[in-house]
């Protein structure tokens, strides 16, 4: 057992105990079971093999989330407008975003941020070039401006 397994186990156990606040045998056994299950699943996904601890994302993360929240609100209104219009005005297309120079954590952050804003949906990240499905030409144009990519890149530098 490496120190990573032990750290994760301790964090999970502390989280369970603090948040449940009920210390009956049944719940403690359930907690232990879920901690072990999470560790086994994490091992299966290769969580302990790579340097995926993303603490270095720390300081710039709140600002990034705030910006992302703004983008989410904006694109939600955009897509809600498209949905509610009597004539369905959509131009689906696929846009490629080259993220092959980003580290894995930033790449995953970027892919999830793109999916999280309605109107753009990441379909494939395996090659390092994100395949993104866009609902309208407006959302595709927004994505191609590259601010999403630039923000994800600046996250990793700090």
């Amino acid at each position: 057992m490496s120190w990573r397994v032990i750290t994760l186990g301790l964090v999970l156990a502390a989280t369970w105990l603090l948040w449940s606040g009920i210390y009956k045998p049944l719940l403690l056994v359930l907690g232990l079971t879920s901690c072990v299950l999470v560790i086994l699943l994490a091992r299966r996904t290769g969580f302990f093999d790579q340097d995926v601890y993303s603490l270095r994302l720390g300081p710039s993360l709140p600002g990034y989330w705030l910006w992302l929240l703004k983008e989410i609100v904006k694109s939600n209104l955009q897509v809600a407008g498209v949905v509610l219009k009597p004539t369905l005005n959509i131009q689906p297309e696929v846009v490629n975003v080259d993220a092959s120079d980003l580290p894995l954590v930033s790449r995953a952050t970027l892919a999830n941020a793109i999916t999280l804003t309605p109107g753009t949906l990441t379909m494939d990240v395996d090659s390092g070039v994100l395949e993104v499905h866009c609902l309208t030409s407006a959302t595709a144009a927004d994505l191609q401006k590259g601010e999403m990519l630039a923000r994800a890149r600046s996250l990793e530098r700090t």
């Binding site: 948040w19 989410i72 369905l88 131009q91 999916t115 309605p118 379909m123 499905h133």
Partner: protein
């Protein structure tokens, strides 16, 4: 009393707005022509619908441990929803579903 009323009104507004986005997401999922475009509509429910409704509930909970738990639920949902959406879209992509439908209403 008035502060309580203001909190109540604020949380009602947030929850109603959230319900609106959940509803529009449902309407969109029915109206869109194919799988991928339906997923775009459904993500309204996952994002602003979730954020607004949970924010409204947090206002109701006030400064309690429950509010912190609710905020954590919101963060976890926002982290896991795009992952689930990616798994769905990637599965569709790998099984060969074309992202470009032949007849797309609205384009040329």
């Amino acid at each position: 009393m008035t502060a309580g009323l203001a909190l109540d009104i604020g949380s009602w507004v947030l929850m109603l707005a959230g319900s609106f986005f959940v509803f529009v997401g449902g309407v969109g999922a029915l109206r869109m022509p194919d799988f991928y475009t339906r997923m775009h509509a459904a993500s309204l429910t996952d994002t602003l619908g979730t954020i607004l409704i949970l924010s409204g509930v947090i206002l109701q909970a006030g400064l309690t441990l429950a509010a912190i738990k609710l905020a954590a639920i919101m963060v976890f949902l926002l982290l896991t929803c795009p992952t689930a959406a990616y798994a769905l879209a990637n599965a569709a992509r790998l099984s060969g579903l074309s992202p470009r439908p032949e007849q797309t209403p609205g384009k040329d």
